[in-house]
């Protein structure tokens, strides 16, 4: 794990509260996972274990559902989330370039990495956000930015970082040729 410091400390009372509110039968699976992810930004193993202990939901079902849906992630997440839209309109207008430019800006290296080394931002690719006429676009935390290109996307993240008091890692030019 690149960022052990990002691992969440799970509060068992909170998980018990979610179960009390959302139910403990099979139909509560998705809402429970959503509640946990909203709280911690990802699904910590300890929280999933607590759900299995305290509900009718089996470990295989919980894990099966968590890995089936695109929304859920099992890896810790940075302090802020950047969603890069990869809908059709965004694809044909250059969503790939946004990925390249933000990976460069945040110095995210390696195929499987999606979080800046200082834990500031995590990038995820999402299916359509449904603002196709403003393509390509990204969502930084709750802010939607449209009509971007690589440079404008970097600017949007830079502005966000300034407001949020985040420092961006130093961009390092690197060989990406495989």
């Amino acid at each position: 794990m690149a960022n052990p410091s990002l691992e969440a400390t799970v509060d068992p009372n909170l998980i018990a509260g979610f179960i009390a509110e959302l139910g403990s039968d099979s139909s509560a699976t998705v809402p429970l996972l959503q509640a946990i992810q909203t709280q911690y930004g990802y699904l910590p193993r300890t929280a999933m274990d607590l759900v299995v202990e305290q509900t009718e939901i089996s470990g295989s079902q919980l894990y099966g559902v968590a890995t089936f849906y695109a929304q859920f992630r099992l890896k810790p997440v940075g302090r802020h989330l950047i969603k890069v839209c990869h809908g059709t309109a965004c694809h044909v207008t250059g969503a790939d370039r946004i990925n390249t430019s933000l990976h460069y800006q945040l110095n995210i290296q390696g195929e499987d990495e999606d979080t800046a080394s200082n834990g500031s931002y995590t990038m995820v690719d999402v299916a359509c956000i449904g603002c196709c006429s403003q393509a390509p676009l990204i969502v930084v935390d709750e802010e939607v930015h449209g009509n971007l290109n690589g440079a404008k996307a970097q600017k949007a993240v830079r502005m966000h970082a300034r407001k949020a008091g985040e420092e961006l890692p130093k961009a390092v030019k690197q060989s990406l040729k495989s």
Binding site: F68, A70, F72, C132, L176
Partner: protein, 593 residues
């Protein structure tokens, strides 16, 4: 000057926010104290965001688009200080009623979209003031029977707008025939089709209309419990719809004994968790039950045995949004629009390389050309439009030669595409058809739930073949294999995802075979998109030495002497063909070929 008596209305859908509506509102509030500033939902004129309507003291309405900080100043100058009319910003106004910008709305027929951009979605009173909840009141107070409601909708002839196009009234009939204490109605707002956003706009912008549609449907077949399944990627839709449920409950439209009648209907939101396959009815039900969203064998159909084993009807958001209008105006009024095959109107989400993108609602039978050119205004680039993609990952491309095809289910199917939910992406000569097919197959492969072997593995094999071709390593036999494999995936899959997944491949092969051949035989990507087959070169003669490309390059492939013209060049060994330099180059001197 005094801004009293003036009302300023700013569109705040997700796209308005993306374009900067929050800032515009702040500036208006600061610079026009005294004016009443409020926000409404998105009007589906995404190309004109941020949209602002000004109602002056005499009640005249002026609608402006592309409003930014400077625009606010011009608008206020005109309305408050008698300055010049900002014609370049106008969409609809008494000053220039025939202006080109007004054509986008003027040529549409808005039934499902009748309220979006017109009202504040958080206010039930505003919906009521536009005939809201009149339809369900008419049904319950006048005591219309279930059969009468079904008959009215049958006369309207509306078919499911989610993609499959099954007649709505017939579907209800199946569930009505079931004898069960509990019946479910599910509103399918899992708009997973990339490129479609009408459901988002309706849920965000006119949630009460969707709720009233659900009440009408629930009454027709006797549902007493309902779920609105909404994508988690649409946070504003979830928020606005949730608020609308609360307000509808308080006003007595939801809950026990609605408006004093025997009807009861309980409505909850279920947030989707991101799976395209959940647009399929039985997968969606599995998802609500807490399972992985995998389709189930039919029969039994959901209308007989659906959610938690009870009779269940799943209706799409757009379908539901038409129902109140149909009950109020009558089925015949709805059927007066459209063609013999397809009645009423259909909403399209127009985007891509088109001048005026956004939501377009037109009567069935309108031609694609009218939508793309008359309403959309044609190409937004200086390049010609070569095709549209209709119906998303399950749909196909339709080339410019057949743009005279009328919009109706049978005619669209004949082109090899599908109506789908109505995502229409316009593409110019810069879109590579092999790359597009690869994009959709990658999507379909990732979204395949894995239940059926041919869908799970077949979509992967198709994607691999397309990757091979896009890298210039394909052979002509591969095209035959692609066609053959596509047919097998379609026939060997349980649900519509696999059943339509190869459409993007088959339609691009049908209409743009020459592009595939260029990749295979000439190792060339005619649209200059496929990275393995292109290269970036600086046209030295035009280079000004501005250094922007060097700064943008993530791999240090561009070098030269700052401020020295004609000095920059690209090292092919380092260049990854990401085109970021092209985006920043002011003299446009980087050639991609």
């Amino acid at each position: 000057m005094n801004a009293q008596g003036i009302e300023i209305i700013v569109g705040e859908g997700t796209c308005g926010i993306a374009a900067g509506s929050k800032e515009v509102i702040d500036i208006f509030k600061e610079q026009a104290p005294g004016a009443k500033v409020r926000s409404v939902s998105c009007a589906g004129m995404c190309h004109m965001e941020v949209i602002t309507e000004v109602r002056d003291a005499t009640g005249k309405s002026f609608m402006y688009g592309k409003v930014n900080k400077k625009g606010v100043a011009k608008i206020l100058d005109f309305h408050l200080k008698g300055g010049a009319f900002p014609e370049e910003l106008q969409i609809v106004s008494p000053q220039a009623p025939e202006h080109e910008n007004s054509q986008y709305l003027a040529r549409q027929t808005r039934i499902a979209l009748r309220n979006v951009g017109q009202l504040d979605p958080t206010s039930i009173e505003e919906y009521q003031s536009r005939d809201g909840y009149k339809a369900i009141e008419k049904i319950l107070r006048e005591g219309l029977s279930q059969d009468q409601v079904i008959a009215e909708v049958k006369t309207a002839g509306i078919r499911g707008r989610g993609g499959a196009g099954f007649p709505t009234a017939v579907k209800w009939g199946f569930a009505k025939a079931q004898d069960s204490e509990t019946k479910y109605l599910v509103c399918n707002g899992d708009e997973g089709d990339p490129g479609a956003f009408m459901d988002r706009s309706l849920l965000e912008g006119d949630p009460h209309n969707v709720i009233e549609g659900m009440l009408i449907a629930a009454y027709a077949f006797g549902a007493n419990k309902g779920y609105a399944y909404i994508r988690a990627e649409y946070p504003l839709a979830v928020k606005n719809f949730g608020l609308a449920i609360e307000k509808a409950k308080k006003a007595g439209y939801l809950g026990e004994n609605i408006l004093g009648s025997k009807m009861s209907f309980e409505l909850k939101i279920k947030e989707g968790a991101g799976a395209f396959v959940c647009g399929e009815e039985t997968a969606l039900l599995a998802s609500i039950e807490g399972e992985r969203g995998m389709p189930r064998l039919r029969p039994p159909f959901p209308a007989v045995k659906g959610l938690f084993g009870k009779p269940t009807i799943i209706n799409n958001v757009e379908t539901l949004s038409n129902l109140a209008w149909i009950i109020n105006q009558g089925g015949e009024a709805y059927a007066a629009y459209g063609t013999e095959d397809s009645k009423g109107t259909k909403v399209f989400a127009l985007a891509g390389a088109v001048k005026r993108g956004g939501l377009v609602e037109v009567p069935m039978g309108t031609t694609l050309r009218e939508v793309i050119y008359d309403i959309g205004g044609g190409s937004s680039t200086d390049r010609p439009i070569k095709a549209i993609q209709l119906g998303g990952p399950s749909g196909g491309v339709i080339p410019a030669e057949v743009f005279d095809t009328p919009i109706e289910y049978a005619a669209i199917n004949a082109t090899g595409a599908i109506m789908g939910s109505g995502g229409m992406i316009v593409m110019d000569s810069k879109t590579c058809m092999v790359d597009l097919a690869k994009f959709f197959m990658e999507f379909n492969h990732l979204e395949s739930c894995g239940k059926c072997t041919l869908c799970r593995i077949g979509t992967l094999r198709i994607r691999e073949l397309l990757s091979k071709i896009s890298e210039g390593k394909g052979a002509m036999e591969d095209l035959d294999i692609l066609e053959n494999l596509s047919k097998q995936v379609m026939s060997g899959s349980l649900c519509a995802l696999g059943g339509t997944a190869p459409n993007p491949v088959l339609t691009t092969l049908r209409y743009f075979r020459s592009e595939y051949e260029a990749h295979i035989n000439e190792k060339r990507c005619p649209a200059a998109v496929c990275k393995a087959l292109i290269s970036h070169v600086v046209i030295q003669a035009d280079c000004t030495g501005c250094t922007l490309c060097e700064k943008a390059c993530p791999t240090d492939a561009i070098t030269g002497q700052p401020k020295v013209a004609h000095s920059y060049e690209i090292d092919m060994n380092k260049c990854i063909n990401c085109s970021m330099c092209v985006e920043v180059c002011k003299p446009d001197c980087i050639l991609v070929e």
